[in-house]
Amino acid sequence: MKRIQVGPFNRVEGDLEIGLDVDAGRVVAARVNSPLFRGFEQILVGRHPADALAVVPRICGICSVAQSAAAANALSRLAGVTPPPNGELAGRLVLAAENLADHLTHFYLFFMPDFCRPAYGDRPWHAATAERFTAQTGSAVAPWLQARARLFNLAGFLAGRWPHTLALQAGGSTKAIGAGERIRIQALLREFRAFVEGRLLGDRLEAFAALPDADALHAWAASRSSDAALFLRAATDLGLDAIGRGSERFLSYGAYELFPAGVWQPGGETSALDTGRIAEDVSHAWLYGDAPLPPAEGETRVAADKAGAYTWCKAPRYASEVVETGALARQLVAGQPLLHSLVARHGGNVVARIVARLIEVARVLPAMEDWLRAIEPGAPFCLPAPLPDSGHAVGLVEAARGSLGHWLSVKRGRIERYQIIAPTTWNFSPRDAAGTPGALEQALVGLPAGDGAPPTVQHVVRSFDPCMVCTVH
């Protein structure tokens, strides 16, 4: 058996190293190392609670608004204030724009370039795929960057800028748009729809979202030459619909009042979310701690030389079990038929994770059009939300990559404790005290690796769309 370290694992957000034990050309065990420590939970302690809104977006440059939304949500609860409908809709639009942009930035810039590698030069789809998706120079890159920049103009209107806005507040949104701005944002959404329907899908959003099962999806892909169809052709040829099975338990906090919260596992019912069952284990992280702690009582104290540790990432568990989070989890919890069909045979897999993001784009964009129409110019966007001197609150949101929670306690007007569990902390967690590997660690076992192996490990790791800077907040 041979142990290899794979890194720097690029085209993810942040730095990542994967340790693989390889025997006879197959992975027998994997260890995921998040090699960068950020320390944001300590940065927050002692500050004015509202300062969290300036600090937490800086945890992550790719899911900055999700971090803002989680903090704003926690502070709303702390203040006991419900933002007015306009403020809620504006915040939701900015978060959705970030999530959709992240899904497709992942698709076009991070995930698809792996199919352009010379190792696949003999495959029938290689030439067309490389022409389209080669990193930085493929013909799809510029149109995607254009579409992305224009979509983020929505954030320019509603949140001043992206990333790192202070527009999302406990009482709602700081930017009240008028009828004229609403017209211009509608035009931006139409423009983004045109990109998605023209380049990405080659079909109407509604038609793609209505595909009922895996057979229908493959028939759909066979009849067109869009970017999504190119992906499906390559991925099916490589058998990526049968590999990458993680923990087989899927968690969602629920998003946009469109997708429900819950925990789903194959063959079981969706069970209701109970955040009281969440605890973080630090047995294999360079952090002090004994028994797993619920985040409301969590600690983050560095133990850089701890024996047996191999990452800066904690191991969150739900009812002591490993769970996977992300677009696939959201859609499975929501009962989306195509994704249930895609995981029925081989469990969570690379193709299902990518298709889940595409399905979300197709389902969320029409909802954004509705939310925008529901904004009432002239009605309030933000209410006063004075914060109490003491108290506890939790803010839960769904970022592009999955479930994000902020647990906050305030004492004498200052932040006493701030604990964050980010999506990739769930997916890329190390082993827990029982020795159970995290979701990605499980997904890598059995894959080809070592000298001369195809880049299968690369596809599986990137199928989770990791955000390492969040992981090690």
Binding site: R11, D51, A142, A155
Partner: protein, 331 residues
């Protein structure tokens, strides 16, 4: 011109912001000016050993490159070991890679306030991460590379400060260097390119009429000037945010919230709540840059007494309630 990019103690937001470049998509814009990435962690195909080989070739002088761009703070802890960020696959501190590469680079750019000054990472009480910028430790010269550092092109670290940086600040500075050259005269006292840092955020602020009359916002989403109550530092922060739009149309001020002076060293620790203005005897402690206090006080009193009703009423609501009057007959 060849650009090598590395990331460390930061959020990656400067790269994400850079990808928002408009009007021309980023890679087309750079290619047109003869600029290419040797390697970028988020954007290049090469991964693992292949990527390490590129970095090692650059660090050992076997492969030439021009600009070293570093995003994120330099994490020297714990105890000077650099273990808070060992670069994946290499087992070596990222700080060591940066030191080796900086010796070979013709120019070194700090991308964002983390890599320029240390930023939030350097701001935990006691700085347990031992974080710093490339050539500054908050506002003190020094940092990882030291006060005396000059890259082989003859410049200190070019500080593209901002949290995040505007895509135009990076692209314009790279293009200035590639097409016309960059000299010390193009940088301000703390190494920021004048092409964006010779203005104040206040310049072009859409709330200027409210500022002139000291008609102040009292709560979030109000239209008035945010200097008096909501912590806005636009009159003190060096950047062109209100003349160079963010994301096509925006800025912090246009988004309805305070400028927190994210291009300035130490912005992350203002000594007061970010969204509240500290005052002494009712006068904001932080006055507009270059404005003597007595003048400000006198002018503020005068302008407050002369505030038109329209400006006063509109300042404390979230949409215009009194429109500018229209003269009869269109005269």
């Amino acid at each position: 011109m060849k650009v090598l990019w590395l990331q460390s103690g930061g959020c990656g937001g400067c790269t994400q912001s850079l990808l928002c470049h408009e009007p021309r998509p980023l890679f087309d814009e750079l290619r047109g000016a003869g600029i290419e990435f040797v390697w970028h962690p988020a954007l290049s195909e090469a991964s693992g050993e292949e990527a390490l080989a590129i970095l090692d070739d650059c660090a050992s002088g076997r492969r030439e490159f021009d600009v070293l761009c570093i995003e994120g703070a330099m994490l020297r802890g714990p105890n000077g070991s650099g273990k808070f960020h060992l670069m994946a696959g290499s087992g070596r501190p990222l700080t060591e890679w940066v030191q080796r590469l900086a010796e070979r680079a013709k120019w070194v750019f700090a991308i964002g306030s983390c890599s320029a000054w240390g930023g939030f990472s350097a701001n935990t009480p006691g700085n347990p991460l031992e974080a710093c910028g490339l050539q500054y430790d908050t506002d003190t010269p020094g940092g990882l590379l030291g006060k005396a550092f000059r890259s082989s092109g003859g410049l200190p670290v070019v500080n593209l400060a901002g949290c995040p940086t505007h895509p135009g600040w990076i692209v314009d500075t790279l293009e200035k260097l590639a097409l016309e050259g960059l000299s010390a005269a193009d940088l301000d006292e703390v190494g920021r390119p004048l092409l964006y840092a010779e203005q104040l955020v206040h310049h072009g602020c859409p709330r200027n009429e409210f500022y002139e009359f000291k008609a102040s916002a009292e709560k979030h989403s109000d239209l008035g000037c945010m200097m008096e109550n909501l912590g806005c530092k636009g009159t003190q922060a060096h950047a062109d945010c209100n003349t160079r739009p963010w994301n096509g149309v925006g800025s912090c001020l246009k988004g309805g919230y305070a400028c927190i002076a994210c291009t300035e060293p130490g912005f992350e620790s203002p000594g007061h709540a970010f969204q509240e203005t500290p005052k002494l005897a009712g006068i904001p402690v932080g006055l507009p840059t270059d404005m003597p206090k007595a003048w400000f006080v006198a002018l503020a009193a005068l302008s407050k007494s002369a505030t038109p009703k329209r400006v006063r009423d509109n300042a404390v609501v979230d949409h215009t309630v009194v429109r500018p009057s229209v003269k009869k007959g269109g005269k």
